[in-house]
């Protein structure tokens, strides 16, 4: 009985909630021409929350009667989410003039979605996970349709909404079956015990399948990825960056918690061989996404297909759960996700700057950018090279870690598929490089996109992140590994793997 609020564990979410409310009130009070201040307020609040989380030791425990789990993993994810939100706000900056009267709404929705993602990282209960996922997604649907006054954005918003609504219907029906047939268990830590004891019957298994289908929609895993290209292309650039970086990370966080609890093999005959199913879907996703990216002429659409390919790589890190490569796979997944988000932020920020100067989103609009705006092109080069997987950038390190995990998990066929997908990703990377540096600028192309002092600093910081931590992954990888070990260590199979030197 009682609330079981535990402010010592849940203060980041509470602070985020207060920030959302503060921005809401400021939006009402401030005069329209002063609304730029809202950016400062949001950024300052996020920096304060982020610093607070970095500086204070993370608590371990549960709040809200076991529904909210604070551990090292969720703490890292929340710090990462704060950084993503800051970058999204940064990427929105070039669009300030275009947003006009909806600046406040825009920021409120971004922050509310971020709050949902943070709650998602800590959710230990399926139903809290569902609602947090809705809180993360529904504001994104509005943001997709909100940004521009054109029919493209509205169309993208409608498609996102239809797919998202169907996905959540699947998720909630699956949760209902899992909850009922496990005898009223909602918490993942309890469900993990049922599955490990081999107590998952047929109804519960079909519930898990429906739950997975819903999550696969949100994380854009093939064959549930068909909505991604249209939505990414139609959404305003900062929101595309948010979708590709933050939303995908949030979806994978949820999937990770579900996978550790429900997909690990238990005693007795499992009805579905989840690791194998995940491995097949991962290979399919990586190849399909990267293959489709090659045929695109619109840069945003290309990056959308590429992001499907990246989801495939991420899923590979999850497919090795329960094998000797389990811990490495999960750590590689988190590392990959962090620096994929950084590369996405870098590329989309550059696109935003070009678009502010009057350029479009087509690949041909970027032809000769190396000559027109050398600084922006150089930053974009770093981001694209990292996505394509060129050493010593972080994207390469992430891919190698994933490959190593599949080798260690004895899924050699998956290693080969991953290698093939890597080659495909180099092809589309070369296409972008060719446009940036080899082709001459088109007639009438925008020259000399303006670059403010702060914007330049942001580009440099993001580029340095990719270069430095790609060459020296240790400082990032070690805390991730520790957190993953602590989270996965709760599961019997993972303890076994860790003990045998996994």
């Amino acid at each position: 009985m009682g609330y079981d609020l535990r402010p010592d564990l849940t203060w980041p979410e509470i602070a985020m909630l207060m920030l959302v409310v503060a921005v809401m009130f400021a939006d009402m009070i401030l005069r329209p021409e002063r609304r730029g201040l809202l950016f400062g307020l949001s950024a300052a609040g996020l920096v304060a929350i982020g610093l607070g989380m970095v500086l204070s030791p993370h608590g371990v425990g549960t709040a809200f009667h076991g529904a909210h789990m604070a551990d090292g993993f969720s703490w890292l994810v929340k710090i990462f989410m704060t950084c993503v939100l800051l970058t999204v706000i940064l990427v929105t900056w070039p669009f300030l003039d275009r947003l006009r009267s909806v600046v406040g709404t825009h920021l409120i929705l971004v922050l509310a979605s971020g709050l949902g993602m943070m709650a998602l990282a800590s959710s230990n209960s399926l139903i809290v996970m569902f609602i947090a996922l809705e809180l993360a997604t529904i504001p994104l649907m509005i943001l997709t349709a909100l940004g521009r006054g054109d029919s493209q954005a509205h169309e993208a918003g409608l498609k996102f909404l239809i797919f998202g609504a169907v996905a959540s219907a699947f998720t909630i029906f699956g949760i209902a079956l899992v909850w009922g047939y496990s005898g009223g268990l909602m918490n993942l830590t309890d469900l993990r015990g049922v599955v490990a004891a081999g107590g998952a019957g047929l109804p519960m298994t079909i519930g898990v399948v429906m739950l997975f289908a819903g999550l696969a929609f949100k994380t854009a895993i093939a064959p549930f990825h068909v909505w991604v290209p249209d939505v990414y292309q139609g959404a305003p650039t900062p929101i595309t960056a948010f979708l590709a970086g933050g939303s995908k990370a949030a979806g994978f966080t949820a999937l990770l918690r579900v996978a550790v609890a429900l997909f690990a093999p238990g005693e007795g005959e499992a009805i579905i061989d989840w690791p194998l199913a995940l491995a097949i879907l991962a290979g399919l996703t990586a190849v399909l996404g990267n293959m489709a990216a090659i045929w695109q002429t619109d840069l945003k659409r290309l990056l959308a297909h590429a992001s499907v390919g990246h989801a495939g790589f991420l899923l590979m890190g999850m497919a090795v759960i329960g094998t000797a490569g389990g811990l490495l796979g999960l750590s590689a997944l988190a590392y990959y996700l962090v620096f994929y988000a950084a590369a996405v932020a870098l590329v989309f920020f550059c696109m935003g700057l070009v678009s502010r100067a009057g350029g479009g989103d087509l690949l041909s609009d970027f032809e000769g950018l190396g000559r027109r705006s050398p600084a922006i092109a150089a930053a974009m080069l770093v981001g694209v090279l990292s996505m394509g997987g060129i050493p010593p950038l972080a994207g390469f390190t992430g891919k190698i870690l994933i490959l190593a995990a599949t080798v260690k998990g004895e899924l050699i066929w998956l290693t080969f598929i991953a290698g093939f997908a890597m080659v495909l990703s180099i092809v589309y990377m070369l296409m972008i490089l060719r446009a940036l540096y080899l082709l001459p600028p088109r007639e009438g192309a925008v020259t000399g996109a303006r670059l403010g002092r702060w914007e330049g600093a942001a580009l440099i910081i993001l580029s340095l992140l990719l270069i430095v931590f790609g060459a020296v992954p240790g400082p990032v990888l070690d805390p991730i590994r520790e957190a993953m070990q602590a989270m996965a260590g709760l599961s019997p199979t993972e303890i076994m793997v860790a003990a045998t030197g996994g």
């Binding site: 909100l146 079956l177 047929l202 519960m204 298994t205």
Partner: protein
């Protein structure tokens, strides 16, 4: 007192007929009204399952607010403009859709009829006090998250429409 089995089969018949009406009605208004029938049927189901509170909420929230909102939008839009796109999938796509939906339904039905239901316990109370106590103590986090979601969604929807006026 109506026997339980008559109540169930009557509810089931009303719900299924209404649901088919939602999917196959040629006119959007009829589809919305069919949804209303299903929602009333489910409210009766809630009542039969010992949840009078939820049955009341179902009628107040869904029938009273959501369906009315749908009807309002149907009236707001120019129906003659929208009608040409009211068609369904054709040919192979239609067959695949039916097959997919039927296959999923059969999978769920086969799974749940294979047993595995946990032991039956005494029914909980279904009045406002019991549900409210659960909502405001043990499951208060659900309420909090839903509240933020509704607030943010309301703000966003206002933003969506407000921008049109400023143009």
């Amino acid at each position: 007192m109506i026997p339980e089995f008559i109540l169930f089969w009557a509810t089931a018949a009303v719900c299924v007929v209404g649901a088919l009406g939602v999917v196959f009605a040629p006119n959007v208004v009829h589809a919305v009204l069919s949804l209303l029938v299903v929602l009333f049927g489910i409210a009766v189901g809630f009542f039969a399952l010992g949840s009078p509170m939820l049955a009341a909420m179902q009628i107040i929230i869904y029938a009273g607010a959501v369906v009315v909102m749908f009807l309002f939008v149907v009236m707001l839009l120019d129906i003659t403009e929208v009608l040409p796109s009211l068609g369904g999938a054709r040919g192979v796509l239609a067959v695949l859709s039916v097959l997919g939906a039927v296959a999923l339904t059969f999978a769920i039905v086969a799974a749940v009829t294979s047993g595995g239901l946990p032991a039956q316990a005494d029914a909980p109370g279904g009045d406002a006090a019991t549900v409210g106590w659960g909502l405001y103590t043990d499951h208060v986090i659900l309420l909090l998250l839903a509240a933020i979601l509704l607030t943010a969604a309301a703000d966003g929807v206002v933003g969506l429409t407000q921008r049109r006026e400023s143009r």
